[in-house]
Amino acid sequence: MSATDISPSAAPAVRTGRPWQRDLIGVAVILLAAIGGYVLFPDNLALLTRIIAIMLLVLSLDLVTGYCGVATLGHAALFGAGAYAAGIAAVTFGITEPLSMIGIGAIAGAVAGLVSGVVILRGHGLAQLVLSIAVIHLFHEAANKASTYTGGSDGLSGIAPDPLLGLFAFDLWGRTAYVFGIVLLIAVFVLLRILVRSPFGMLCRGIRQDPVRVSAMGASVKASLIRMYVISGAVAGIGGALNAVSTQVVGLDSLSFTNSAEALVMLVLGGAGSLFGALAGTVVFMWFEHVVSAANPFHWLTIVGALLIAVVLFAPKGLYGTAADLARRFARSKP
């Protein structure tokens, strides 16, 4: 005990020694931001709820890309599967209880995660990326063709969720949906923090850094990755279902290549391999998009592009990763 605790490298030991503190800080920051958003932008709650849904998609993508190192441009398939499953459950099968819809979304997302994981993990590198693009296009086309259930290119409308817990109706201003989204986000965030710290999370980080070493330890790389894909699918599916519940429509755009690619951009912007990075990237990207597109509807994409180039060139670890590095350097130089 004593010999190792007073070693020169005591500083990082503190970091791993008190993980719950960082979880609590994370939850507190999410809560503060949520209250701030509610107070400052009461007319924009629909946008804020949409941001929360996309946050769940980006968190889910972070699990497979940031933690496991799987490159994918097809992750919206998992999000869209959750959205459509929740929507179809409500419209076709009359399951309009919001928690059940979220549950159905999570299960559908997990199944979509299993299917796309099995396909995407057949390849490596470039082949993997191409397979992921194929997957999102196939999902998109399947939803387009099954118009009896999905409404095809018109979208699936008429989703009317019951009041939450039988008490809180989903109102016109989107207050209930917003609070519901925040609660879901915090629950998922806490569970994922536990997951990435667990032995399984450590195994997945190992797989990203050297899969050959992991298999030389006797662990199955493929089985672990597929398992992570299923978990990731459940998270994205919750995000999709939340979107269906809050907007009461599901469109083909939720299963689009653009949605997948934007999620990846948000992750890189915030910093892959960190849950905080995934959250920060989503907020910054979507808020930036909202503000800039209102200010300059003609050239906003140019400005978003310039921001991305700046981040990739000057802060390759993403906004959160770079900020964390700076904070660490500052803390080290102070004493």
Binding site: S9, P199, L203, R205, D210, A216, M217, I231
Partner: protein, 254 residues
């Protein structure tokens, strides 16, 4: 002599090129065997065949009498056959304590657990600290591996092998890339390996080979040309020829 590991008539050819030709050898518990041979003799190919990273053309690999020739590399590890790598393969962003803890958790079948943390598992922590202290890596326990010296990374490779508690350990040039002055660190680490473990080591550093091995096998052009004690190997005419070619005769004639 209880045979724990045996290779029977192992063959491998790439097209028309035979790189491993009828290699047979067996090891007992506690064996310390060095596999040497000139460059291109097929030593690393042999390790890759045995661990299943390459499919053999014919021949069998046995662990405790069980044929593991059809096993995947992963199942061979679980059967107790563990290797280290010629070029260090570690997780550069992870710390030595995470490496060793992961190996212990994997051995105990707990690496799939989705909650909890090894810091809160007293048994894992105790064993992990023990292994790191044995190899003098205690002070570096929580430094990312990318930031520690290569020689210490080599020691961590050995630590991982210890944490997996194999029955047979294949070390592919454990001292490769380590300055000659630091080879003793590797040697000390090898001396800490459990006595009943069968160790096969590929090595070019002959000082290390002669101090470590109780038995030497020489591989040349894919075939075993010598299997015996370290004392006899330097006297063997075929070994001299394999290493020195025609110069072996030139010097004996002169």
């Amino acid at each position: 002599m209880s045979t724990v590991f045996a290779v029977e008539r192992l063959k491998k050819s790439f097209g028309g090129l035979d790189v491993t030709r009828d290699v047979s050898l067996s090891m007992a518990r506690g064996d310390r065997l060095a596999l040497i041979g000139p460059n291109g003799a097929g030593k690393t190919t042999f390790v890759n065949l045995v661990t299943g990273h390459l499919q053999a053309s014919s021949g069998r690999v046995l662990m405790d009498g069980e044929d593991i020739s059809r096993f995947s590399p992963m199942r061979r590890v679980r059967a107790g056959l563990v290797r280290s790598f010629q070029v260090t393969r570690l997780f550069s962003e992870m710390t030595p304590e995470e490496h060793v803890a992961l190996a212990i958790l994997q051995r105990e079948g707990k690496s799939g657990r989705m909650a909890g943390n090894f810091h809160a598992m007293p048994q894992v922590m105790r064993e992990m600290r023990g292994i790191l202290e044995t190899l003098n890596l205690g002070a570096l326990a929580s430094v990312p591996v990318g930031a520690i010296a290569y020689g210490q990374q080599r020691l961590l490779e050995i630590a991982l092998a210890m944490a997996l508690r194999p029955k047979v350990l294949l070390l592919d040039e454990p001292a490769a890339g380590v300055p000659h002055s630091d080879t003793f660190l590797i040697e000390n680490a090898l001396a800490q390996l459990p006595g009943d473990l069968a160790v096969l080591m590929i090595e070019h550093d002959m000082d290390l080979v002669f101090r470590f091995a109780k038995r030497v096998v020489v591989l040349a052009a894919g075939a075993v040309i010598f299997d015996g004690s370290p004392r006899d190997v330097t006297e063997d005419a075929r070994v001299r020829e394999a290493y020195l070619g025609s110069y072996a005769h030139a010097s004996s004639a002169a």
